[in-house]
């Protein structure tokens, strides 16, 4: 019976509908990263090749950053308040008295936010290409792989925060606090390519720092370094394990 499975299409459709009713979520996840790229790209100096970036223009370096930004916001800002709220207000509890498992809600949230993050990524790539002449990823498959691993890490981090936060208020606060270091490691303030070596090495051990480097390599046309992919994948596995370990339905 499909209703007892992890994925329930009616729940998924409902969560998709509800996501569309959250203008703030749509803006921050789907539009803000591209908007940031557009603002930075409209600064003339960002369109000039920079030797510190290995000859790339800053706007080129910011495309992978903006991609990651959408994923990070989706996982950290989108998921924890929603899921914690579902638990806090008894929505998961009510669902557990029906033939549908509350895990269907978790799966639907991940699917909707994951899809929104990927749409955000496509939008960023499109605007980068059309408005600022940023080359599309030279190694598309490697790029997609790095993107999906980063998405998995972000959703897993969101799920872990949802598991640990007791109330939606705490989840929002913790999600926002975690957002800044994650954005930093992804290179929002300083692209990883431009970081001093030591800092880049340290950041390379974080989920989004490693993902940023993998995306940068794939953008330049190389298959991403196994180390970077492994670090991001490792974090995804670790964070998922933590979320599974600590998540409570009520």
């Amino acid at each position: 019976m499909s209703t007892t499975g992890l994925v329930n299409t009616a729940v998924l459709r409902t969560e998709f509908r509800l996501f569309r009713r959250e203008p703030a979520g749509i803006f921050w996840i789907m539009l803000f990263p591209t908007l940031l790229l557009a603002i930075l790209g409209s600064i003339p100096s960002f369109r000039e090749a920079d030797p510190a970036l290995g000859g790339l223009r800053p706007v080129d370096a910011y495309v992978p950053v903006a991609l990651l930004l959408g994923l990070i916001i989706g996982g950290l800002q989108g998921m924890p308040p929603t899921l914690t709220g579902y638990r806090e207000t008894g929505i998961l509890r009510r669902m557990s008295t029906t033939p549908v498992r509350p895990s269907a809600l978790l799966a639907a949230q991940m699917t909707v936010l994951g899809a929104a993050s990927l749409v955000s990524a496509l939008l960023t790539l499109a605007v980068g290409r059309l408005a600022f002449d940023v080359a599309l990823p030279g190694q598309p498959l490697g790029h997609l792989l790095a993107l999906l691993l980063a998405l998995a890490a972000s959703l897993a981090l969101g799920a872990l925060l949802s598991a640990l936060a007791r109330t939606a208020k705490i989840a929002t606060a913790v999600g926002s606090t975690a957002l800044f270091p994650m954005m930093f490691t992804a290179g929002v303030w300083l692209p990883v390519e431009a970081m001093p070596d030591l800092m880049a090495d340290i950041v390379g051990w974080t989920p989004f720092g490693a993902a940023a480097q993998a995306l940068g390599e794939a953008s330049a046309g190389h298959w991403p370094g196994t180390g970077h992919l492994a670090v991001t994948a490792g974090w995804a596995v670790l964070l998922t394990a933590g979320a599974v370990r600590w998540f409570r339905w009520e």
Partner: protein
């Protein structure tokens, strides 16, 4: 209160010998961090019965209901719903049992119609939500988001969601909380109709009028234990002052004579009016006393005590 007695007489809807119990609770115990919530509760509910769990706040009513729904794991004891274990056979139980929970909301931006359609989709043989919504006065609110509903409207939506899977058994926790008197009466009628369709109802309440009107039998739970289990009329009968006699005597009556009445439970005097509670014997003795003393009883009223009186009597804590 002929109405109540009549209700009891027709209570067990199946008159054959094959009445099956669909909910069986045996010596259920549940504690939360050392504090005992349910302390050895046993009862069984027959198919097609409306069974009430009545008790003061914190008596263990909701915990008992949650163990039946499979939302909580009992510390010890046995719970069976349609022969199934609500914890081990949770999936099967959700197909036969509908639950209306306390303090359980919906997504704030979900509309009434979307909620009804979503929850209907969870079940194999869902009820048509349109007549159900109409019955519960939700037709005007179908496009309203959950967060914009009033307390009573939310409550009616929860009742609809509990019934939408056409369950064999429905557990209703504080059914009419937040409903105005008219909506409350409409809801009671709906529950009676649902039962008439063969559904077994477990009703958790602290509302006497509701229990008295709907329930075939009631388990009064106090401090985690079953203090009494009987029909509403039976509960009233077994309380000490089952009959209440009140009148305004034309001449003073002696206290000693009143206190000597057989079966007397209490005497009260207020504004020249005397109110006695006791048994049928007390009634006869009062009439004899009045005749013998040549006192006329103005506005003489003899009434049954209410379930309220019985409830207070039964849940008086010995502490």
């Amino acid at each position: 209160m002929a109405e109540r007695d009549g209700r009891c007489a027709r209570a067990p809807s199946t008159t054959t010998l094959t009445v099956m119990s669909v909910i069986d609770v045996t010596d259920l115990r549940k504690a939360y961090g050392g504090r005992t919530a349910v302390d050895g509760v046993s009862f069984s509910v027959d198919e097609g019965e409306i069974f009430g769990i009545l008790g003061p706040n914190g008596a263990g009513k909701t915990t008992t209901a949650e163990c039946v729904e499979g939302l909580r794991v009992p510390d010890s004891g046995r719970v069976r719903v349609a022969g199934l274990d609500p914890v081990a056979d949770h999936d099967e139980v959700t197909r036969v049992l509908g639950a209306q929970l306390q303090e359980s909301e919906l997504q704030p931006k979900l509309t009434v119609r979307e909620a009804l359609e979503l929850y209907a989709s969870f079940h194999r043989r869902p009820a048509d939500w349109r007549p159900l919504a109409e019955r519960l006065g939700l037709t005007e609110k179908l496009t309203t988001r959950f967060a914009k509903l009033s307390g009573g409207q939310k409550q009616r939506l929860f009742i609809a969601l509990a019934l939408i899977g056409t369950p064999r058994i429905v557990v209703l926790d504080e059914l009419t909380t937040g409903l105005d008197p008219r909506a409350r009466r409409d809801t009671w009628q709906l529950i009676e109709d649902v039962r008439a369709g063969g559904v077994t109802v477990l009703l958790v309440t602290h509302f006497m009028e509701e229990a008295q009107r709907l329930c075939d039998r009631i388990a009064v739970i106090d401090q985690g234990r079953v203090a009494a289990l009987d029909t509403p009329a039976g509960l009233v009968r077994r309380s000490a002052g089952a009959t209440v006699i009140s009148f305004t005597p034309s001449a003073p009556l002696d206290d000693a004579d009143l206190n000597a009445l057989p079966g007397l439970a209490s005497v009260a005097r207020k504004d020249g009016r005397i109110t006695l509670s006791g048994t049928d014997d007390t009634v006869n003795a009062v009439l004899t006393l009045l005749a013998r003393s040549r006192v006329t009883a103005h506005q003489l009223r003899v009434t049954d005590a209410t379930l309220d009186d019985a409830f207070l009597d039964l849940t008086e804590s010995p502490a």
